[in-house]
Structures are given as structure tokens and as C-alpha cells.
Symmetry: D2
Subunit: 260 residues, 4 copies
């Protein structure tokens, strides 16, 4: 890929503390400083380094610098809402049959975490049309996409759930709404035939109503799952076992295809 | 996306039986026929239709026709080996920070299921270098990629696990091997700094040895998880509940980043 | 415990095939024979042996003989209905605060699998009152309890769901019914104050309605869970990992306590 | 069961705050007081009430009083160690084929939580022989059993892991030790033929070594599982879904039967 090897001003970087398994995401600015529990890190000392380089804080503590991965970017968006978690977002990539160049509608921009993943995957030739009824959410999400350098692939627009989408013939529609069923008919109208709708909902009742509405509208190949991500602790001496704590639930995931 | 609306000869299509929730994947050929439990379907009658169209068999049974999604293609490869399942492959998309244009090494081509997903996501400007020690696996995988129309994005090469990779400065490395630790040092040499290695292993012992080798070699930001996909049954009358059967385990998933 | 060391006629035994991990449960009879894939086993040769003894079939195949555990008995009842699975039954033992000498109502005898566990745990001084609206179920369950040698601890009675229970001041009530909510008021009337009701239901809708009815009736300390049992494969050479197949779901489990 | 209906001095009671889903366990003493976030509760006002009764604090806050269930007692022991969690303890009840009157060895008394469950289930005619190498653990556990009114069913004894057990012909052995394999041979010697050994271990490596030692020693019918308990949130308005947080892992559970 065409990308400078060296980190430069105005790009986002991730500072990683291997010892504490913690990271910080920020934009490199001339004269900038990052305050950590272990002293200050000067932005100027990071610029010009390659990814994976060692960075020392003012107290001599050791950090590593990386370009943020898409997961880092998603998890570290400025949150004004719940986000679609990476484990679920990943499932949707396949369920929505994502590929470069796609044209996608997202209804319920929220904080834009999933928008970042979609924008990365559709590439410079694709386009995300993301809608929310809250102007403050759109503004915040736009800022999050900007930090990720992906804002030119995304069109942000104010829209009430249930209203008709101003784009047609799209390759996929994603709904993240309290009442997704009201947006299923507009989604049908916007989708090219055979293409996929994807929905995330937090409760069994919403799952049921969404699936019933999909069926009534004429969608087929309906899939409904839940994804559990279990982190494993791997330690040389003490041994291997799953972590004691885990995220027990985030949402039910739905996908379906439009018939002609 | 630039894609013909109408299905045409020589492309793969998916015939879907909504009633039995079963599908058939095949290439449209002039004069071709698909035999089903419910009569014959003529390829010539499919050509020219749009996705989502109704197709009637010789006995009048109703089917729908689609372009296969990437999941359809992965699940329906000609299998000569275990495949990386979609639920796990999806997690790797984020863990490997996949984007269009990437250059990726895959060691352990197997049947090429994961290769199909990677090839779809890196787009026409990216490249997958996939290696296997078995010529028959490579040949079969190449055939699978060809059916998916993605073979020009993939370089297939014979290589023993542990041997040096003939490409350098790649954006990600994926290992699916019985002894992945022997390929970790070659992976390090091939990766650009800061980039990700991803590994799948079936047992706790392999997980442990892989993670230890990653640490010894100097990889950081190591993540180790297991993904459980739980299918939910949504029925209007009987109600909502998880399926009675589920896939209990496929593999442990590892990711890490190369330091400089 | 006072129990003969030697196996004797008229008691149930379990023949275990370690190689195939399969077992057979039957009652020892003079002159009896058990047919297996690996030849015949004569009952007369088992009588007088102790548990864990080696038993040879007519073809010389090696088996082991045991007294059946309560799990063996539950899983091998003559089934006319779904049974409460051991993983769920175990949770109820604590949720119902089972102890020897208890007086328990079970509504929905089914095949009597859970009845067997309860009858074992309450001991000779306790009593299970089990009700079903189907006489054939009661008859079959009685036969199952008899094989387990526990029928004298159980009273079987015909009763429609929702009808008043003919026993009062019981220490626990268990409901396994399609519409458990109709039996919650009768359960309240039958329970001693502070004692527990326990319910199993297969869907989210039934779970919700049951919990709402419990709250309306005045029950408190309501707990609602689902139990997943994951079998682990432990192999010296190939290594440790969860089984590839697992039971994905059996039911939602509820418990609550009666207020005064 | 023969039990006074009214709560009396010197017995343990559970005060339940339905609003906050919190409980307090303590022994009723003449003149005693319980301090809560919502004011004081006088022990003297509880005595003479029945289970499930309303109790008002000094500020008029509403509480309910119960006799503690066995789960309450287990979860609220004075902890000097990790405890066997109820979800796992429940599985062992069936795996060890517990019934009233049994004679059981427990090696690794810990805080005595599982001992409480076993002591409740074996009844007044059974006996638990529990061993630990730490005198302070035994003393604390004894105190916990005493509070549960079950100390007369339990023999506490100092013993190093791996030493021979001073009781023989027992109906079950339970091991909760860092290196359970060193106690497998003594367990064999103490068990009556055909009876069950049960083991809990926290890592895959310990699981493997335990199972291999069981096989080498001659145990059969080996079962190895993990139990996941998932709490479900049931809300009238917002709907049904699993909790967002869950306990991800506690231990691997093993059971096996002694051959002759």
C-alpha cells in the first residue's frame, strides 16, 4: 500500500503501554505533549519514526507507537451513544458482503464507530450514506471520521427513522435504531435487488418484530445470530484459561436479502 | 458498484430454497441444468434475470436466485481441508486491519476459503500471496478462487512451513498451520513494522506455544480470543430462543503486531 | 451408606463400554441377556460382582459394570416428553434449596427424569408430589421411578395445570408446563412462606410472562438464568479443546421466593 | 420438614432489599442491630416472624427476611480462598451422585463453601471428611459450617495434599487443589469401587494432567466440562436480553469412576 513509512504531523497515532496493556490515541501536532501515568511524551519525538518504534517518556518509561488499527479507531471514538462492537461489526462485514467500491446506507449514525469500519473497507471508490435524526450525533461522528482520515468517503445527513432514503440502488443497508422496523420499508426501496439489509437490536422483542417485518416486506435468507467473544488468558507459568470477566451480551444481529 | 444488473453465463449463482433453507452454488452455462429434490432448473432461464428473482423448477417449485455472498462462497468451496469459518474469518478482518490495496501473506492455503474473503476485501489493487506445502491443495484452492472470479488477486506458491517468504514488507500475515510457531520468524521478516500477524490454532497447547513464540520473537499487542456464534430461532407463534444445536468450537484466534 | 457391595438380581445396572463411551442401563434378571454390538452379556455373570468390575461379552469384549448414577438414570428414562437436562436440573437443586426430608410439588411430571433427582435428594423422609394432566405420562414416569427404586418417595396424581394443589405448606414447587403462569397462583397457595418456586421455559416470551406473573403475585428474589454446559476434549497427544458440537440451548431457568 | 415456622435467636437470617437486589446474612442475637444504607434493623423485631415477612428499618425502609438458602450461605461464607461457585457446585452434585447418608472426602477445604452444600445434601446420617493443609483455613471453614448449623456433619482434619486419607470406603471424593494429581492415588485407595471422584481446576494444563493421571490410575467414565451461567434481564417495558456482564470462567470440572 502507498503509505509513508514514517509517522508525520496531523496523523493519528496509538501509543501502547505493553506493561499495562493500555493505549492512547491522538493526533500528532507540532509541539504537542501526551500526559501519561508514567510521564510526558513529546509529539515531536514521534514524528519521523516508523510504526512499532520505541518511545520513551520524560521519566524514561517505555512505550511503543503504532498507526491505529480500525479496531483501535472504533473503540476510541468520541462516544455520544452505544457503539457497534468490533465482534459484531466483524460479523456484519460478511453478512453485508462488503467489498471495495460499494455504496452503503447506514441509518443510525450514532458515534460513527461502525461507519469507520465500513468506510475503511469500501475504499476510495465506495460511498457511505449515513443518516441520523440527531444533528449533534452527526457532527460528532463526522469529527470521528475526520480523525480517521475517512470523512471524504462518507455523506452525513439528517433524517428521521422511517423516512425515505434520498439514495437508491445501494449495495447494502445497515440499521441501528430503537425501532428498526419502521425503516425496513424505506430500506427495501433503497436496496438494489438481491442485496443485503443488516440490523442490530438489543432485545428479544425487537429481534422478533424486526424479523417479522422483514418477512412481511418480502426479505428472504434471514439470519439471526448472537456473537460471543471470549478472551483467553495465556500465561507461560500459570497456564491457559478463559478470562474471568467477559462481555455477556451486546446485541442480536440480523441479516436478510431483498427479493425482486 | 459497476456490475451488470442481469445474471449472465459463466458467473456463479446461488439458488435458494426458502422453504428448506438450503442453497446450491453453481456456474451458469449455456444449456446447463441443476437437479434438485424438487425438479430441474434450467440455467438458460436464469440468465438475464436480476438477483432476487423467482425461478421455477420443472415441477413448479419456487426458488430464488442470487449472486453468492462471500459467506456463500467460503462455505461452498470444494473442501480438501478444514476451512476458516466465517465467524472466525470475520474477526480476523479487523484483527489484521484489512483494507483495499493491502499486500497479505497467507501460509496454509488449505481450501482457499479465507483466501476468498481476503481477496474480496483487498480489491483489485491489493495482492494475496498464499502458500502451501501441498500442490494438490494449491490447485484446488486456485480453482475455488477462480470460481469466485478472484484468482487474479492471488499468487499461489508452493512453500514449506518455516521457510522464508519470497515477499517482503507486507501489510499482514495469516498463519493456518499445524505448527504455526515455525513460521513466526519468517512472518516477522516479511512484515512491515507495526503490521499484524494473525494465527488460528485448534488446541490450548498450540495457542500457548504460538503466543510464547510471538513474545520471544518480539511481537506485542497480543490478543487471544475465541468466537462463539449462536444462531437464534425467531418464530412468530412459538417464540424466540437460541437453536438447540450449535458449533461448540472451531479454533483459538491470535493477533499481534510487529515491533521495530 | 448401607448398600450391598455386590450387585444382585432386580437392581438396575449400567454396562459401560469405555472404548465407545457408550452405556446400557437394565435390570438384572435371572437368566437375562444383554445384546451389544460386541456380543451377549449374561446377567447371571454380573450378579455377585462389585461395581467397577470387568465383564466379558460372549465375544470376549471388555465392559465395566456400575450402579447407575442419578445422571445415568435421568438420561435413560423411557421418554414420552422432553426431559429436564442434568445441567439445568443441577441448577434447580440449589435454586430450590433442596435438602433431605423436604416436601416438594412438581407440576408437569413429564417422563419423571427430574423427579428421579429430587426423589434421590430428599431421601426416605421426604416426599415428592408430582402432577400431570396426562395419565399416560404419569404411568410411564411411575415406571421410571420404580426402576430407580424411588417410587415410594413419590405421589403421582392427575391434575390440570392451573388447578389447586391438594397439598399445602410445601418446601418447594417446580413447574415444567407450556403455560407455567397459570400454575403460579396455585403454587403460591401451596408453598410455605419464604420457600422457593422454580420454573423452566423454552422461549423468551414464556420467560417474560412467567416473571411478570411472579412479580404480580408477590414473589421476590427472582433469578433468571440459562446454563451452558461445554464438554472439553482432553487428549494426550492432540491436545485440549472444547468439543466441536454442543447443545446450544435447552431452556430458561427461573427461581423466586414467596413473601408472606 | 420439621422446622419452626418462626425465626428465633441464634439462627442465621437473610435480610433482602428488593429494590437494590442486595442481601445481608447474619445471626439473630438478643438486642442485636443491623446497620444498612437505609437505617438500622433491630434483631428483636425479626424474632418471631415467619420467612418472607416485611421488616422495617429505623427510617421506614422496607426489607424482607428469609432463612438463607444454601446458595446464600455459600456465597456469603467468610472467604479466605476462592470458593467453588454455585453453578459448578451444582454440576458436582450430579457428577458425584450425591444422596442422603453418603460418606464423602473433600480435599482442599478452602473456605468451606462447597462443604456447606455437601453437608446439607448428605443429611444428618451422612458425613463429610474435609481436609486442608492450612490450619487457618480449617478453622475459618469450621466457623462457616457452624453458622450454617451443619458443623456436626463435618470432620475437619489437617492433611497435606498427596498424603493417604484416614478414611476408607467412601462414596465420593472431591479435590480442589493446585496439584490435584498428587491426591488421585490416595483418592483411589479411599473410594469404594465404582464410586466417583470429582476435581476442579483452573487451567487447561491442570485439566490435562489431572485427566492423564486419572487414566493412568485406572479411573474410567471420565467427564470434563465447563459450566457457563448466563443471567437474563427480564423487563416488562425494555424487553428481554442477557446481562451485559457475565462471569467468563471459573474452572474446568472433572468427574470419573473407580474401577475394581
Amino acid at each position: 500500500m502507498k503509505q509513508l513509512r514514517e509517522l508525520s504531523y496531523e496523523e493519528s497515532v496509538l501509543i501502547w503501554d505493553e506493561e499495562r496493556k493500555k493505549s492512547f490515541l491522538f493526533v500528532l501536532r507540532p509541539g504537542g505533549e501526551l500526559g501519561t501515568h508514567k510521564g510526558k511524551i513529546l509529539h515531536d519525538e514521534i514524528v519521523g519514526k516508523a510504526e512499532g518504534s520505541l518511545v520513551l517518556s520524560s521519566t524514561g518509561a517505555r512505550f511503543r507507537v503504532f498507526r491505529p488499527s480500525v479496531t483501535d479507531r472504533m473503540m476510541k471514538v468520541q462516544r455520544k451513544t452505544q457503539i457497534v462492537y468490533p465482534k459484531d461489526a466483524a460479523w456484519f462485514v460478511l453478512a453485508m458482503n462488503i467489498k471495495p467500491g460499494m455504496k452503503i446506507i447506514e441509518m443510525g449514525t450514532g458515534s460513527g464507530a461502525f461507519t469507520i469500519l465500513l468506510a475503511q473497507l469500501i475504499g476510495p471508490d465506495g460511498k457511505i450514506y449515513t443518516f441520523d435524526k440527531r444533528e449533534d450525533f452527526l457532527k460528532n461522528a463526522k469529527e470521528n471520521l475526520k480523525k480517521a482520515g475517512l470523512e471524504d468517503r462518507v455523506v452525513f445527513e439528517l433524517l428521521n427513522a422511517g423516512d425515505s432514503f434520498p439514495v437508491k440502488d445501494v449495495d447494502a443497508v445497515f440499521l441501528d435504531l430503537p425501532e428498526p422496523w419502521i425503516a425496513i420499508s424505506p430500506a427495501w426501496d433503497a436496496l438494489a435487488p438481491g442485496k443485503s439489509i443488516a440490523i442490530i437490536v438489543p432485545t428479544a422483542e425487537q429481534l422478533k418484530r424486526s424479523v417479522e417485518t422483514l418477512k412481511d416486506k418480502g426479505f428472504a435468507v434471514i439470519d439471526t445470530v448472537e456473537i460471543l467473544e471470549r478472551r483467553i488468558l495465556v500465561r507461560k507459568k500459570e497456564g491457559v484459561r478463559p478470562f474471568e470477566k467477559m462481555v455477556g451480551f451486546t446485541g442480536y444481529l440480523i441479516s436478510a436479502r431483498k427479493l425482486l
